[in-house]
Structure formats: C-alpha cells, structure tokens
C-alpha cells in the first residue's frame, strides 16, 4: 500500500478521457480523482467505468493517491462502477451526495463484497462527499460511520443548488457548511478537502479562496485543471516564520522535558501539548513539502 504524506490537491479527471487519464500522474497533484459521475453522460457510463478500471488495473500509477468518484448511492450505476474499478491499485472511492451514515455503510458493504470477489487483500478507503443540506447536518455522524473514511469533502456546486441559492465568487454562502465539515473532520481525526474553484482563468481568486479555506482548517482542495495545482500547493506550504516558530517550540519543549519542567513559555506565551503537536505537524509538513518539491 502506498503511503500518503500530503493531500494538498486532488485533481479531477473526466472518466471518459483516455488522454488525461493516461497522464494523470505527471501533473504534480498529490492525488487524482477519476470521475464517473457528473462529467460522464448517461450513455457513456459503461465505457467510462471500463476505461478507468482498465487504467487502474493495467497501469497502476505509483506514488500518487488514486481515487474514483463513483455514482451516488441509489443510482443504477454504483454497483457496476465498483465492480469495474475496485483493484489492488485503487486507494479510495469518493461517494457523491452522501446524505447519512447509512449511505456510507451501504457502500462499505458493497466494497466488502467486491473486494472479496476479486480477492483484494486491502480495504479501499471511503471519502464521503457532502453536497446536500441533509449531508451537511449529518456530517459528524457520516465522518464516524466507517473506519475506512480518512477524508471528507465538500461539493460546493451541488450543495448551493440543493440550498436553492447561487454559488458566488466569494463563496460566503458556503461558510456554514465549510466550517461544519472542517470541525467534524477535525473531531473525527480525518482530512477535510475543499470544493473546486471553477474559474480556471482567475489564479488570484483561486489563491484567495485557498488561503481562506486553509485558515478554516482544510487539508487541501480539489482542482479541475493542472494549472491550479501549483498555486494551491504554494498556499498550503508553511511560511518560513511558521517553520521558525515551530522549531523554537519543539526545541523549548525538548529542553523542558530534559529539565523536568512542566510548563514552558515562548515569546511570552505559554506552550501546552496541543501547541507542541501543531508545531510538530508544521515541521513534518515542511519536510514533506521539501521532498515533494524535489520530485516536481
């Protein structure tokens, strides 16, 4: 099983586009998402699922997280989608329009059956996608509904449609859903991925939205064009002052441990275990970012 270190970007790739699927791992995203749902016409669902399944099985894609957005629970397509794409090379299934923990449990049951039929000895993970008002209200229950869940994600377009409002450039209307999803993810100890920024020609807008969701606590962001990858990675990179502060905290903490001191302070502020934990995470992310940049 591949080890995933960073999940700053998840690149959507239409499931019936062999040119893009074949190049999925060259764009530099941390994770790719082959889409069998909205980007595929009903008449081409069969072709897309076979195409995605064939690439996952025959090409593999090492060193990148491979996920597939299947069709929603209750659709006529989902079981065939899973039969086509479940493979030892697949890392996670994204479940669109997840409304409740029952949706996740039903998917988990289907996955267990298909994994068993195919003799796959690992558990494929689940990424519920929250894009209905009902899903938002049930987010924490959903986040805790399966041990296979290691990330939860918000779908802004469908959510605003379900709320009967317009998705604006600034995205104020998504504030409640975003904060609720982040809080649920943090409480459940999983990643939170933000929705796409649809205007691929507006890099500044993408950067500002990414800065905002990073502040809220999101781990990363879905992207729809390879051009959006680098700006998003740049936002999620810890700033040099943050790294400096984190090093100071860790050094002081280690020194205090040696001296048997219970309480430490840095720059006049008391440092307690959650702060040390945050500092350790910043250093870990910075180290991984350096590794990822070397590979890019």
């Amino acid at each position: 099983m591949k080890e995933f270190k960073l999940r700053r970007t998840m690149l959507y790739i239409p499931g019936n586009n062999p040119g893009m699927i074949g190049n999925a791992d060259i764009f530099g995203a941390d994770s790719v998402l082959f889409d069998l749902e909205d980007s595929v016409a009903a008449s081409e669902k069969d072709a897309a699922r076979e195409l995605v399944g064939s690439f996952i099985k025959n090409r593999g894609f090492s060193n990148i997280e491979i996920t597939v957005r299947v069709n929603p629970m209750g659709s006529e397509y989902i079981r065939d989608d899973l039969i086509a794409v479940v493979d030892g090379n697949l890392d996670a299934v994204r479940l669109p329009k997840t409304n409740s923990k029952n949706d996740v449990r039903e998917l988990e049951k289907m996955l267990e059956e298909v994994e068993k039929e195919k003799g796959i000895g690992r558990k494929i993970r689940i990424h519920p996608m929250i894009e209905t008002a009902l899903g938002v209200e049930n987010t924490f229950d959903i986040a805790l509904s399966s041990k296979r869940i290691d990330a939860i994600t918000i779908g802004g377009q469908d959510l605003t449609a379900d709320m009967e409002i317009v998705k604006t450039e600034k995205g104020d209307e998504l504030f409640y859903a975003r904060t609720r999803i982040v809080m649920a993810a943090k409480a459940a100890g999983i990643d939170a991925m933000d929705t796409v920024y649809a205007d691929v020609n507006n890099e500044q807008g993408l950067i500002e939205e990414t800065q905002m969701v990073k502040k809220l606590g999101f781990t990363g962001k879905a992207v729809i064009n390879p051009r959006q990858i680098k700006p998003v990675h740049n936002v999620f990179r810890p700033a040099s002052e943050e790294i400096e502060w984190a090093r100071e905290v860790i050094n002081a903490y280690e020194a205090a441990l040696k001296e048997g001191k219970g309480v430490i302070a840095i720059r006049g502020k008391m440092i307690d275990p959650p702060v040390v934990k945050r500092a350790q995470k910043i250093i870990a992310i910075a180290a991984l970012e350096n590794g990822a940049e070397d590979e890019e």
């Binding site: 062999p18 074949g22 690439f55």
Partner: protein, 86 residues
Amino acid sequence: MKIKNKAQCGSLESSDLMVFVEPADSLKIEIESSVKKQYGKSIERTVKEELERAGVKSVYIKIQDAGALDPTIRARVSTALKRGSK
C-alpha cells in the same frame, strides 16, 4: 459471449480509438492506425486477448486508432463487445 448486434465505442480524439463490432460467422479483425507499421501487431495482440477474455470467437471488429495506449484499447474493445452482446 455472442455478438448479436452492431455496436461501437470510443472516439477519434487523440489517445483514443473507435471500435466497431458486428455479428459474423468467423473472426475478422481490421486495424486502421497512423502507427500501424510500428504498433499494428501489438494492437492486434491486445484485441485478440480481449476477445479471448470475453469468450468471443466470431465477430467482425474494426479498430480506428488515434494513438491509444494499451489500457484504452482493452477498455474500448471490452465495452464494444458488451454493447454488441445485448
């Protein structure tokens, strides 16, 4: 699997291929590709493997290749056969 109807799958966009299948009394494979000289044999081998995997012995299958990779050829052939068997 028995091919009962004419069916097709794919596109002529770059990196894709069109696959046409038709019921026939024997196996006939036709390949059109700008890289037929270099890859014709390899494409034919992949098509035959997919026919064997699907258990199809009699079919007329025509390939119009636009530079497809092996996983694409396998998927498009498989889908066209399934569509033709319905």
